[in-house]
């Protein structure tokens, strides 16, 4: 663990957290949907861990989880509730994970991970049912962004002030919990950039104006700084992928390429030397210990899955024992030992890849289910994007850009997942839920009103109710 002094308790901040949370729960009794936003907020920011008073001693997360579900069951209108096929897949994944937990290689450790995984999965199954209106979808986006922003802004400012370093950038909380882990936050931070840009144009809670634009651009900047501050290589890969994908969404492509290129070149002299050195190991990974170990663990997982096709349950990596051959690197007078190839042994190394995490812990069926859920989501977003890209209706303008933003964020996350074990990170399940909610919302809207997106001029749209064939 990085040697950072433990934060002193701050009574004022704790009081503010308590007041905020209680007010949040209070307004939930007026509009129960706000409980749902409250749980998303608690899940991302974890105020109970930032606080030393009252809310850290009661199971606030579980209470709000219960309130949200009871509030929906008791009050919310369920007439037009629709299920998405992916929700059934998530139910299947939930049951499958429960089965592997019962038969896990390490029952105690597996039960520990299961204790938060089930909540993330149940939440992802439940959340789309509640996203019945456009404003609900928008407010969920807003609260996810603002919650992540609480971490990203602090990280961005500290990075800009020169306080970064691998494992040393302190993101509000001095422990690797949830999004507070550097690599995870840098991947998540980059993957929310498209959503931030969507909100700037299409928000109605904070309608577009110069203040919203300023905040959004500053937040994008902070998110882009996170991979530099945390020195997580994953984040840099995510940034590059996102930059390339954004070519699909921007209007003036050549201007965008030129601008992005100039910005990247201009940024290089400002990067700390430790950063550029670390990033070079992406290319020369064989002489880097962390990267070599990763490859060895992946090879171990591959073999393990052959013997245990149904997975070893959560945390199955604990049993791994890998022998790593580290290639020689160029001679460095400060570290002459690196100039020779070395062999070392490692035990219980984490997967550092969501794909191998799924393969090792849940076996082939689990990996297949997980991949299927993500693949369907990405395809659905592409369908929505194409269907609504050229719509002329004012109230449908937000749909295609949101589908694009979610899809780009999702792909970025999946690329980041190649190098970080974040298969069950609750944040991506909220994004999945948002995608499912958007799909069912649009489907319901189309069916209810018999509307078709106006790609042609209104007069050329075919009749709303097809004439039944008499023959």
């Amino acid at each position: 663990m990085p040697n950072v002094p433990k934060r002193m308790p701050t009574p004022m901040r704790d009081l503010a957290f308590v007041a905020f949370l209680f007010a949040f729960i209070g307004v939930g009794f007026r509009k129960p949907f706000l409980f749902i936003l409250c749980f998303c907020y608690i899940d991302i920011v974890a105020p109970q861990r930032l606080s030393y008073f009252l809310i850290n001693s009661i199971p606030i997360s579980l209470i709000v989880f219960g309130l949200a579900i009871v509030g929906w069951l008791a009050v919310d209108d369920k007439r037009d509730t629709r299920w998405s096929g992916r929700q059934f897949l998530l139910v299947a994944l939930l049951f499958y994970c429960w089965m592997t937990t019962i038969n896990a290689d390490f029952p105690v450790e597996a039960a520990d991970k299961w204790s938060w995984v089930w909540k993330a999965l149940v939440w992802a199954i439940f959340l789309p049912l509640t996203l019945r209106t456009k404003l609900r979808i928008e407010s969920l986006v807003l609260f996810m962004l603002l919650s992540a922003a609480a971490i990203a802004i602090a990280g961005g400012i500290k990075t800009a002030a020169g306080g970064g370093g691998y494992g040393t950038l302190q993101l509000l909380l001095n422990e690797n919990y949830g999004l507070y882990e550097g690599s995870i936050m840098s991947a998540v931070g980059v993957s929310i950039i498209p959503l931030i840009l969507w909100y700037r144009r299409h928000g109605t809670i904070f309608p577009p104006d110069w203040r919203v634009s300023t905040f959004c651009f500053a937040l994008v900047f902070a998110c882009a700084l996170l991979p530099i501050g945390t020195q997580a290589r994953t984040g840099l890969v995510c940034l590059v992928i996102l930059a390339v994908m954004s070519l699909r969404a921007v209007k003036h492509r050549f201007l965008y390429i030129a601008g992005a290129g100039l910005l990247a070149i201009a940024a290089i002299p400002f990067l700390p030397q430790s950063y550029t050195e670390r990033m070079e190991t992406i290319r020369d990974h064989k002489s880097d210990q962390s990267a070599s170990t990763r490859v060895a663990v992946w090879a171990w997982t591959w073999d393990y899955a052959k013997e245990n096709p149904f997975g070893g349950g959560f945390e199955a990596y604990i049993q791994n024992h890998v022998r790593v051959e580290k290639a020689a690197s160029a001679y460095d007078p400060n570290a002459p030992q690196n100039a020779q190839a070395t062999v070392y042994e490692e035990r219980s190394r984490a997967y550092h890849s969501s794909y191998f995490e799924m393969l090792g812990e849940q076996g082939y069926p689990g990996l297949a289910l997980w991949l299927l859920i993500h693949a369907i989501s990405l395809v659905r977003m592409e369908q929505l994007r194409r269907r609504y890209l050229k719509t002329r209706r004012a109230e449908e303008q937000w749909i295609a850009p949101l589908a694009t933003a979610l899809q780009h964020g999702h792909v970025t996350y999946m690329v980041g997942s190649l190098f970080v074990g974040i298969a069950f990170q609750p944040f991506i399940y909220m994004m999945l839920a948002l995608e499912m909610g958007l799909s069912t919302y649009v489907r319901r809207r189309e069916q209810e009103s018999g509307w078709r997106p106006l790609t042609a001029r209104p007069a050329q749209v075919p009749a709303r109710h097809p004439v039944t064939n008499p023959g």
Binding site: R13, S139, A459
Partner: protein
């Protein structure tokens, strides 16, 4: 200091958003006056397009 700024700013924005959401009827039912107005306007446009010389 930076932490408190970051937490403060985002939480104030969330509080404002909550306040605004409390007064928005289209959170639970999506028939806002704006939507009705848009639907009416769309219908008028469609009609105008259907009878261009009227």
């Amino acid at each position: 200091m930076v932490d408190n700024f970051s937490i403060g700013l985002t939480h104030v924005l969330m509080a404002i958003a909550l306040w605004r959401l409390l007064h928005r009827d289209d959170l639970d039912r999506e028939v806002s006056p704006r939507l009705l107005w848009q639907q009416r306007r769309d219908a008028e446009r469609a009609e105008a397009d259907a009878h261009p010389d009227a």
